[in-house]
């Protein structure tokens, strides 16, 4: 079933689930686990019943509180151009199902092990081929930003997808402020390196054998594209640590791993920078990592994806993957004349 048939500029109302509903949903989801009829059971009473049947309620409520405690509400605008007429993935799913190997290679590890992660104070340095290299105090900077909510499709290279209401500013704004020189052709990003806080960085076994710090890169024109978002929040609040707090990239036309989390360095260069997954397995993860249903991953097809909506065993459906994840109209021009099989 193909849901996306409009351009992104088309608006529909009621995009964003109200927070009270997110919270309720999360409780139910955590209560249910199995996801058996998660949608049908919307009354907290039913969740309670399931809790009684299936196990302890306290652990779940504590878990939910922890996630809530680490985020703060944000104010933002909702530009019409960036709304999607697809219901967002349940917040409890998007915040408990994460690839963030710094906290462990299992998808539930980040939510479990990142709750003590210190995001204050936080600075980002911008260096390299720029006229004004600078160090930004993220939280002070954030107060001056006009945050936008953008509902983006999120496509993981593992052939699953979500729909997430991100909050942030265009990546271009922070790069423009540093004034790139004419030599700047690429932008390199780096995640915080702090093995004391990030258990995956202190143990190769926990961290999936990846070399840290995690690095990513974009061509400058990709980084300046209006869709490229420097995200500081999701679902109306600041990012939870497991989703890359306090600042991460969101590049909706690329596979999720390009969206580097917990950024501390932005470095402009004239050479294509190394990227973490490309270094680990270049035949599986290219530099560009554009979503492309015609170029398979060596171990699975990219032609379709499992959309994780409510989570649970029956909370996902399969749908065709769209070229550039459905953002073809906007980004195809960036790659004109390139062989996307070669530059995958």
């Amino acid at each position: 079933m193909l849901i996306y048939n409009k351009k992104k500029s088309h608006l529909s109302e009621n995009q964003v689930t109200p927070e009270s509903v997110y919270l309720q949903r999360r409780q139910i989801l955590q209560g249910l686990g199995l996801g058996l009829g998660a949608a049908a059971l919307s009354a907290p009473a039913s969740a309670g019943l399931f809790d009684a049947l299936l196990g302890s309620k306290e652990t779940k409520e504590q878990g939910a509180k922890e996630v809530i405690a680490s985020t703060e509400p944000l104010t933002f605008s909702q530009p019409k151009a960036y709304q999607l007429d697809i219901a967002p993935t349940a917040e409890g799913v998007a915040t408990t199902y994460n690839n963030f190997y710094e906290f462990g290679a299992d998808k539930s590890d980040p939510a479990r092990y990142a709750q003590q992660f210190k995001t204050k104070p936080w600075t980002i340095t911008i260096s390299g081929e720029v006229e004004h290299p600078q160090t930004i105090d993220v939280w002070a900077w954030l107060e001056k930003q006009q945050l936008e909510e953008r509902i983006y499709r999120h496509r993981c290279v593992e052939a699953w997808s979500m729909v997430i209401p991100w909050l942030g500013v265009p990546l271009s704004s922070i790069i423009k402020a540093a004034k790139p020189t004419s030599k700047a052709k690429y932008v390199a990003f780096e995640t915080l390196y702090d093995p004391k806080q990030m258990r995956g960085q202190s143990s190769r076994f926990v961290g999936g054998g990846i070399e840290y710090p995690y690095v990513e890169g974009l061509r400058l024109d990709e980084a300046m594209h209006p869709l490229a978002l420097l995200a500081v929040g999701m679902y109306g609040k600041t990012l939870p640590p497991q989703n890359g707090a306090p600042v991460r990239l969101v590049l909706p036309w690329k596979y999720g791993f390009k969206g580097i989390k917990s950024i501390v360095n932005i470095h402009l260069t004239d050479k294509q920078p190394p990227t973490t997954w490309n270094k680990l397995a270049s035949y599986e993860y290219g530099f560009y990592a554009n979503v492309n249903p015609k170029v398979d991953h060596p171990r699975w097809s990219q032609a379709t994806e499992r959309v994780i909506a409510e989570g649970g065993l029956f909370g996902s459906g399969r749908q065709p993957t769209l070229m550039f994840n459905g953002y073809e109209d906007e980004v195809a021009s960036l790659y004109q004349g390139m062989d996307l099989r070669k530059f995958y």
Binding site: G31, F50, V93, T96, K107, S108, E158, L313
Partner: protein, 213 residues
């Protein structure tokens, strides 16, 4: 060491083994309810069933060395049930993949089996286990005679293919599949004489035929 196992004891052992083999299934509802599975449990469930299929298969390969070591022939009687449980978990593993992951998308299923080496290996291993399970009835065993043993020697191939299938399928974290592969190879090493016999026979035949000339 030699232990004596009366038919009664074997029956008791069988019941215990059945109960033990059900445990991973009983664990699931509890595990879901306390959040041991993530928000997208499907890949994890696939791996969970796959893990148990492989573990139980390796256990089934322990039976005959153990029976020899303990000089207790009746122990062999528990092998079939262990093997069948391995097949049951392998089938659940396959079912979750077909149903919940690929959602019965037959063209995708077909192309994945052909295109992805690790899926091909997995399917091949499951077919071997299927064939062995179908021929595990005593009636069929008797009817097949010596061919039955030959057919069931294919389990050794499955025991090697499955850890390779596992290794090939993971994105990172090759240590677990490696451990399984080493366990499997060591169980086959135990049987090296039996496994190499056909090769020896082949070698002898060749040399004798050269002599004749």
């Amino acid at each position: 060491m030699r232990i004596k196992l009366s038919p009664k004891k074997i029956t008791g052992l069988k019941i215990l083994l059945h109960l033990a083999a059900i445990l991973p299934l009983v664990w699931l509802p509890w595990a879901f309810s306390v959040g041991r599975f993530s928000a997208d449990p499907i890949p994890e469930l696939i791996q969970y069933f796959g893990d148990w299929a492989l573990r139980i298969l390796l256990l089934s390969l322990c039976v005959s060395p153990l029976a020899k070591a303990l000089k207790s022939a009746p122990l062999i009687k528990v092998r079939r049930l262990i093997g069948l449980w391995s097949f049951a978990y392998a089938s659940l593993h396959l079912l979750v993949w077909l149903w919940l992951d690929l959602q019965w998308g037959w063209s995708l299923i077909g192309s994945e089996i052909i295109k992805r080496g690790f899926v091909t290996l997995g399917m091949l291993s499951w077919l071997i286990l299927l064939l062995l399970s179908l021929t595990s009835l005593q009636k069929i065993q008797r009817r097949l005679g010596r061919y039955w043993q030959r057919l069931h020697n294919w389990v050794y191939l499955a025991a090697v293919l499955i850890p390779i299938h596992y290794w090939w399928a993971v994105k990172s974290g090759w240590i677990q599949p490696l451990i399984y592969l080493l366990l499997s190879l060591s169980l086959l090493w135990w049987r090296r004489d039996k496994l190499l016999r056909p090769l020896k026979g082949l070698f002898k035949r060749q040399t004798s035929s050269t002599k004749r000339r």
